[in-house]
């Protein structure tokens, strides 16, 4: 500190040149909410990488089944239980794509050569000889579809319920809130399992069952936001200008809470994927010939010791999707939620 004295010279104290015409100049371009949020999301490397991976996975979920020369539901029992083998990668033995299997005694053999099959199944085949590459991507498609639909329905119900409850207030609000309290008090595991038992397993029943319990957190968040906006000037202004209640809620309030709605939806997607996989796993998921990632993992468990790839590939896929969605959701929360800003 003391030594710095001698480095301060007089010319450092020259008066700054102030141009009155430029004092109001805005140094940075003005960003709207979305540009600003995008700017913040971009800084979060994990979220960006996850987004890219998710986009690739979503594209592959649709394109993947077309790439494989085999259809997902064609059974070829002569080619059953073949391990993964990919052209070009089959000579790289540390990758799991060389077409080899391990016997109980530890001996490694090439299943394709032993059984004299000249084919390439990129992710192998299952016990009925169906191509797992096509099945995995179709399963991904189904899992993602269920998750998006469940999240969308959650969003619709949750936003309307929360907005109505908060906007009307008074007795309506307290009755609606008591209802939510009771619903939250029931473990959603029970509701989902019961609904599936009653509705019979299938894509639509799973979506319905997930929607029944999923909307409560969204409703609570939206109600809080509506209560906050209710007393603010822009709502009063809209009311004075004769806007109807519906248009105040949907045109004036909801656009102001897109951030929280998106965050909440992003978190409900992975939880829907989890529940779908979970239901498939306890035998309440999709039935053959439909496959989702959950049913593929479940099928793979049966022959885990002899043919581990049947379980590992869909497991890795679920893990990847879940991790990516969670990271993107975290990134969006940090970017969109004003409370989380540094």
């Amino acid at each position: 500190m003391i030594n710095k004295e001698n480095t301060i010279s007089k010319d450092m104290f020259a008066p700054a040149h102030v141009d009155p015409s430029k004092s109001e100049k805005i140094a940075k371009p003005s960003l709207n909410f979305w540009q600003d949020s995008w700017f913040r999301v971009r800084k979060n490397k994990a979220a960006v990488v996850s987004m890219v991976i998710l986009v690739i996975l979503i594209i592959m979920a649709f394109v993947g089944p077309l790439l494989s020369p085999y259809a997902s539901d064609t059974q070829n029992t002569k080619h059953n239980n073949l391990p993964p083998r990919i052209q070009g990668l089959e000579d790289v033995h540390w990758l799991p794509f060389d077409g080899t299997l391990t016997r109980r005694d530890g001996a490694v053999y090439n299943a394709y050569e032993v059984r004299k099959i000249d084919a390439y199944y990129w992710f192998g085949t299952d016990n009925l000889g169906r191509d797992l590459f096509a099945r995995t991507w179709e399963g991904t498609q189904v899992s993602l579809f269920i998750a998006f639909m469940a999240a969308l329905i959650d969003m619709l119900i949750g936003v309307s319920y929360g907005a109505i409850s908060g906007y009307l207030g008074g007795r309506t609000d307290s009755i609606m809130q008591r209802i939510i309290e009771v619903i939250v008090g029931i473990p959603n595991l029970i509701v989902v399992v019961l609904m599936i038992i009653v509705l019979k397993p299938g894509i639509m029943p799973i979506i319905i069952a997930l929607s029944i319990t999923g909307w409560t957190s969204m409703a609570r968040v939206v109600r809080g936001q509506v209560l906050k906006f209710k007393g603010q000037e822009f709502v009063l202004a809209a009311k004075t200008l004769g806007a109807s209640d519906t248009s105040i809620i949907f045109k004036h309030m909801i656009p102001n809470m897109f951030g929280v709605i998106i965050i909440n939806t992003m978190f409900s997607i992975p939880s829907a994927i989890f529940f779908e996989a979970f239901l498939s796993f306890i035998g309440l998921g999709l039935q053959d010939p439909h496959s989702s990632l959950g049913t593929l993992v479940n099928d793979g468990f049966v022959s885990m010791i002899a043919f581990p790839y049947q379980m590992i590939i869909p497991s890795v896929m679920i893990a990847l999707i879940m991790v990516c969605f969670n990271l993107v959701a975290d990134g969006l929360r940090d970017a969109l939620d004003p409370k989380m800003r540094d």
Partner: protein, 310 residues
């Protein structure tokens, strides 16, 4: 406090009543009788069976009878397991589930709090990134995937632990780890945020100023206060363990309640499904209540006094 407790208790009863009613009526909606699998039975015999279990009475009568026996602690008898009372069936199986759940909870809390604390103390170092990575992985990946991978790589490939079944302490290791991953990650993330928050507060600066050592500050001053809010996540965590236990018990062949539940679903064993549902719901509401009360006791700032809180 008494008023608050009473209010919570009434809520609890209402919730359980609703769960019981919903369960009952949904079960009745399911097509198919539990005896359809007994193909050797003639129509007359099937009718006799339905008669005996009161399944031919009008629905309100069945509902009333069910509720009446429920209040007296009787959950009916299982259709599939030689008329064993459901209470006895579940009672026999509660042991393994409880052991597994408690172990996972304790492991999850200890490891999670430890990871969260060190990553807050060593913010933005590789320790922090490592534990954040573990937290993200543990939070995202479903427990049955962990269970499958652990079973394959650790039990089958390396042979360190038994693959499945339930015969001694070494059999509990893999299921406990698989089940604990979620609590670990949630506790770690929560702990990290709380700890960073506490470390930034004025009294920590004061402790630093008076010359307290690093360990004194982090353990004696910061950790104790940061632990308080962590209690709140313990409730939801215990609930997630219930969900997890279904699949974990199925994968590892553990004779617990979850495995029983999955089995009963596939065999239409109504009384067992209803009993298990009620047990889960009761556990759920009790855990949430206990956590709320605990929170009030631990943190003097939010103590509920004389019902003024509401």
């Amino acid at each position: 406090m008494a008023k608050y407790l009473l209010q919570r208790f009434i809520y609890m009863i209402i919730t359980l009543f609703i769960v019981a009613s919903i369960t009952f009526f949904l079960m009745k909606l399911i097509p198919g009788s539990p005896f359809n699998t007994f193909q050797k039975l003639s129509v007359v015999q099937q009718n006799l069976l339905l008669e005996k279990y009161g399944l031919k009475d009008p629905l309100p009568v069945q509902y009333f009878n069910y509720m009446k026996s429920l209040v007296m602690g009787d959950l009916g008898v299982s259709f599939q397991f030689n008329n064993t009372p459901v209470t006895e069936l579940l009672g026999n199986r509660i042991g393994p589930s409880a052991i597994l759940g408690l172990q996972a909870m304790v492991l999850g809390a200890i490891v999670g709090i430890f990871l969260g604390t060190i990553s807050a103390l060593k913010q933005n170092t590789w320790i922090d990134y490592g534990s954040t990575f573990i937290a993200v992985i543990g939070k995202s990946i479903p427990s049955f995937i962990f269970a499958g991978l652990l079973q394959f790589y650790i039990a089958v490939k390396l042979g360190w632990f038994p693959v499945m079944l339930w015969k001694g302490p070494e059999y509990t290791v893999l299921p406990t780890i698989a089940l604990a991953m979620f609590p670990i990650s949630i506790a770690a993330r929560f702990m990290r945020t709380e700890m960073i928050d506490v470390l930034g507060s004025d009294y920590i600066t004061l402790a630093k100023a008076k010359g307290a050592s690093f360990w004194q500050i982090s353990v004696k001053h910061a950790l104790r206060n940061a632990l308080i809010p962590v209690v709140t996540v313990m409730g939801p965590l215990a609930v997630s363990l219930m969900t997890g236990s279904l699949v974990i018990e199925k994968i590892f062949g553990i004779p617990g309640i979850g495995e029983q539940f999955v089995k009963s679903i596939s065999t239409n064993d109504y009384p067992v499904i209803m009993g298990t549902n009620l047990l889960f719901a009761a556990l759920f509401v009790v855990i949430i209540l206990v956590v709320d009360i605990l929170y009030g006791i631990i943190d003097p700032r939010i103590r509920i006094s004389g019902g003024k809180a509401k």
